[in-house]
């Protein structure tokens, strides 16, 4: 949309061919997944509750948004709202239909998210670009308002916040940190696998065709309207499940404020810093967003404790995080995933060529 003089992109965006050539083998992926499961049995509570669970959930939300933005080319600032739909819908399903198994409740929550996604995706049939992004703000402000305003959604608690009923599946109590971690990890693995299949299928190719040039895609016989709404639906489905996990597997108790505009920004930021249009990008981006501030805070707590005034140290950390964002966007506008791919390529050639 920017009509400014745009020199050719400095780095070639990884084309699907290149991606395939550099694709990690299925064995490696399986190994990684197993490692994550194994991790569950060795680490401390802190890692579950403060790092692994939020990292996985935000990666899942990033994955959902990446389908919409990175693959189908529709930017959205309504991610937080779709997360809130998932959280509140799942809560009500768990509360009102307690006999349903937990995964079914989560899927129903996701379906409500998909419905909301389709409704608020309707403007995409008429407008695109930055104005479309701005119009998704209507969802972002309307839906959390709705959940805050009408007590029914939170079962008339005094404070309007919702709290996870007991998480049980097949008789196993999933309320422990390990249980919540396994629930999150399993959801993420299944949904990521589905998403991977989706983007490598005809649907995914259609989406990318629409992203790259919708007129040409239409000429080629791809139904534009259907595919756009489908991308909103599937993306919001995943995001809504992420929202439900955020509420119940991570925080335990939330209210509509947990899903404000900042949450939407964070998720958008995850896919941009991680890498648009790549599944790994969502995970890398989420790692950056969740880990870096904790890292900075821990390092400064260990190195400078007592040396600098606490308030000033916090401000410096904030400046550092902001500067890191700008730095990485300048260094690698295509995201950290592209940086990793390049590093791999260089490592493969090393030491013949540096």
């Amino acid at each position: 949309m920017t009509a400014l003089a745009a020199p050719a992109p400095p780095e070639t965006v990884e084309s699907p061919e290149v991606l395939r050539r550099w694709r990690v083998g299925p064995l490696a992926i399986a190994g990684l997944v197993l490692a994550f499961y194994a991790l569950g049995f060795v680490v401390h509570d802190y890692w579950f509750n403060a790092i692994l669970i939020p990292f996985l959930i935000m990666a899942l939300a990033g994955l959902g948004l990446n389908l919409l933005t990175g693959y189908a080319g529709q930017a959205s600032l309504g991610t937080g709202a779709f997360m809130s739909v998932g959280a509140f819908a799942t809560y009500n399903v768990l509360l009102r239909l307690p006999d349903l198994p937990l995964p079914v409740s989560l899927v129903i929550g996701g379906l409500f998210g998909a419905l909301a996604g389709v409704i608020f995706g309707l403007p995409s049939l008429r407008i695109k670009g930055f104005y479309l992004t701005a119009s998704t703000l209507a969802a972002q402000f309307f839906l959390p308002w709705l959940f805050n305003q009408y007590g029914w959604f939170s079962n008339y608690t005094t404070s309007g916040s919702i709290s996870a009923p007991k998480l049980v599946f097949l008789g196993a109590d999933l309320s422990t940190p390990l249980g919540r971690y396994l629930l999150t990890l399993t959801s993420v693995v299944i949904l990521t696998w589905l998403a991977w299949n989706l983007v490598t299928s005809q649907v995914g190719r259609n989406w990318m065709a629409i992203r790259d040039m919708d007129t040409a895609a239409a000429v080629a016989g791809i139904p534009i309207a259907f595919n756009k709404l489908a991308s909103f639906a599937i993306s919001s489905f995943i995001i809504a499940i992420a929202g439900a996990l955020w509420a119940f597997a991570y925080l335990g108790t939330v209210d509509a404020r947990s899903f404000d505009l900042d949450r939407s920004f964070t998720v958008l930021f995850i896919i941009i810093i991680g890498g648009m249009g790549s599944i790994a990008g969502a995970f890398i981006g989420s790692a950056f967003v969740i880990l870096v501030p904790i890292l900075i805070s821990n390092v400064s707590a260990n190195l400078f404790a007592g040396a600098i005034d606490a308030g000033q140290s916090e401000n410096l950390q904030k400046i550092l995080f902001g500067a890191l964002i700008v730095y990485f966007l300048i260094k690698e506008p295509n995201g950290l995933y592209a940086l990793l791919l390049r590093a791999r390529r260089r490592l493969a050639l090393w030491p013949l060529k540096s």
Partner: protein
């Protein structure tokens, strides 16, 4: 490009190394500890930092006073470190997880979440970890019922007590509770779970006393309120109860002045009643009132001691000396006093050593601060007499009324204005029972040990 790439990779490698250093934070050895760890969740950056900074100063100054002047709690000195939450839930949870295992062999006795949403997210985690959280004047009201919420302590003044005290103050001005009949009382509230907490008790009190209960929400952040105050001008309430947060309070006071509503008929809630809330409103804030469990003023005995032993010796955490004795500074002192007294009580049963969360819970549930004990501490008038039990994690339920004279707050109520707690408690227990049912919690029996 290659050198840039190398630099970027070097950066990543450094980050990975630094990450590897993280676990050192919770390598708490089980050695015999001599000092009591007391982690502080603080927010020194972000939207609410201005109200937080004096609170931490009050807390830290009192802890230093305990260490320096009294030689610790029965000889057990306190040590603490800070964790930044920015008042955000996720960061607050991370902080809690980071510190909960204790430090240098000392367990965590009490956690102060400093943030309503954070405290709600910690409700169950604190039960699992057996660490009591004290939420003075925020948090879930029904957590007063310790049978259902064993580790949540909304000590002193819940939002329900806040609402009831304001109504009772209006009754005092009008000359008795029977005069409430026919009055119009409008509540202008921050439209959030926090803001809505007082709807149920006000509805109940309106039915009981016969006043008209008008509820006017202000959307977050509340930097534009012309519509709300135009409505007030139309409805002409006798009093406005202002339950704001952050920027909403000064904008409300200014907009009230613009629309000609008498500022001295506005009574602010706890989080609309600090210097930081009124000062930005400027001259028109003169006459504005607020209810608070944290009376402002530097004349309390303990504040004089803090001044002499900490502030004047340059040991204070306070950057801005103007804030000494302010509502938020005093709130920090009050929080610290209650925490220290709970630890002291726990020591009386478990021995003079660093106590665990479970022991501090016993200390809190058996805490009794009567006039005599408060006088010893030097906190009479600053802290209301307090008695906690399993069934009652609030204990006080009274506030003082402050009035802004353009420069500072003055206490205008005659002592503590009590709330109708006995009327409201059954409703609170009902809600706690409903929560227990929804979550499948079996309430603890109400027996003290």
């Amino acid at each position: 490009m290659s050198s840039r790439l190398k630099k970027a990779l070097r950066g990543l490698a450094f980050a990975a190394l630094a990450l590897a250093a993280v676990p050192s934070v919770f390598s708490a050895a089980a050695e015999e500890a001599k000092q009591q760890y007391f982690p502080l969740a603080t927010f020194r950056v972000g939207a609410y930092a201005s109200s937080g900074i004096p609170v931490w100063a009050g807390e830290i100054d009192y802890f230093r006073y305990i260490n320096e002047v009294e030689g610790g709690i029965n000889g057990v000195k306190l040590f603490w470190d800070e964790c930044e939450t920015e008042w955000e839930v996720e960061k607050g949870v991370e902080c809690y997880e980071r510190v909960k295992a204790g430090k240098d062999g000392s367990p965590v006795p009490i956690f102060l979440p400093h943030g309503d949403p954070i405290s709600k997210a910690l409700t169950e985690k604190t039960v699992a970890d057996k660490i009591p959280q004290i939420t003075i004047a925020y948090g879930r009201t029904e957590s007063i019922d310790g049978r259902v919420f064993p580790y949540s302590f909304p000590v002193l003044f819940s939002f329900w007590s806040e609402a009831s005290s304001v109504i009772n103050h209006i009754a005092e001005i009008e000359g008795g509770k029977e005069k409430l009949k026919g009055l119009k009382i409008a509540t202008v509230y921050h439209d959030s779970p926090y803001g809505k907490e007082t709807q149920v008790p006000l509805d109940f009190l309106a039915k009981t006393y016969g006043f008209e209960n008008i509820q006017i929400p202000v959307p977050h952040p509340g930097n534009e309120q012309s519509a709300q105050w135009a409505k007030i001008r139309q409805l002409k309430p006798d009093y406005v109860f202002l339950r704001g947060w952050g920027v909403m309070t000064p904008v409300a006071i200014k907009t009230a002045a613009k629309t000609g509503f008498p500022v001295d008929h506005i009574i602010g809630g706890i989080w609309s009643g600090s210097e930081e809330d009124v000062r930005p409103a400027g001259a028109v804030g003169k006459g504005y009132k607020a209810v608070t469990p944290f009376p402002a003023g530097a004349d309390f005995e303990i504040l004089k001691k803090l001044k002499a032993n900490i502030v004047d010796k340059g040991l204070s955490d306070l950057k801005d000396p103007k804030s000494f004795g302010s509502v938020y500074y005093n709130s920090g002192v009050i929080e610290a006093i209650i925490s220290v007294e709970a630890i002291r009580k726990a020591q009386s049963k478990f021995g003079n050593r660093p106590v665990t969360g479970e022991e501090a819970q016993w200390g809190l549930e058996n805490l009794k601060l009567d006039e005599a004990r408060l006088k010893e501490i030097g906190a009479d008038g600053l802290v209301q007499p307090l008695e906690l039990s399993i069934k009652d994690h609030e204990g006080g339920g009274a506030g003082k009324i402050l009035q802004w004279d353009g420069e500072k707050w003055n206490i205008v109520s005659n002592g503590w204005v009590r709330s109708d707690r006995e009327l409201l408690l059954p409703l609170i227990y009902e809600r706690a029972a409903a929560y227990a049912k929804e979550k499948g919690i079996t309430p603890r029996p109400d027996v003290s040990n």
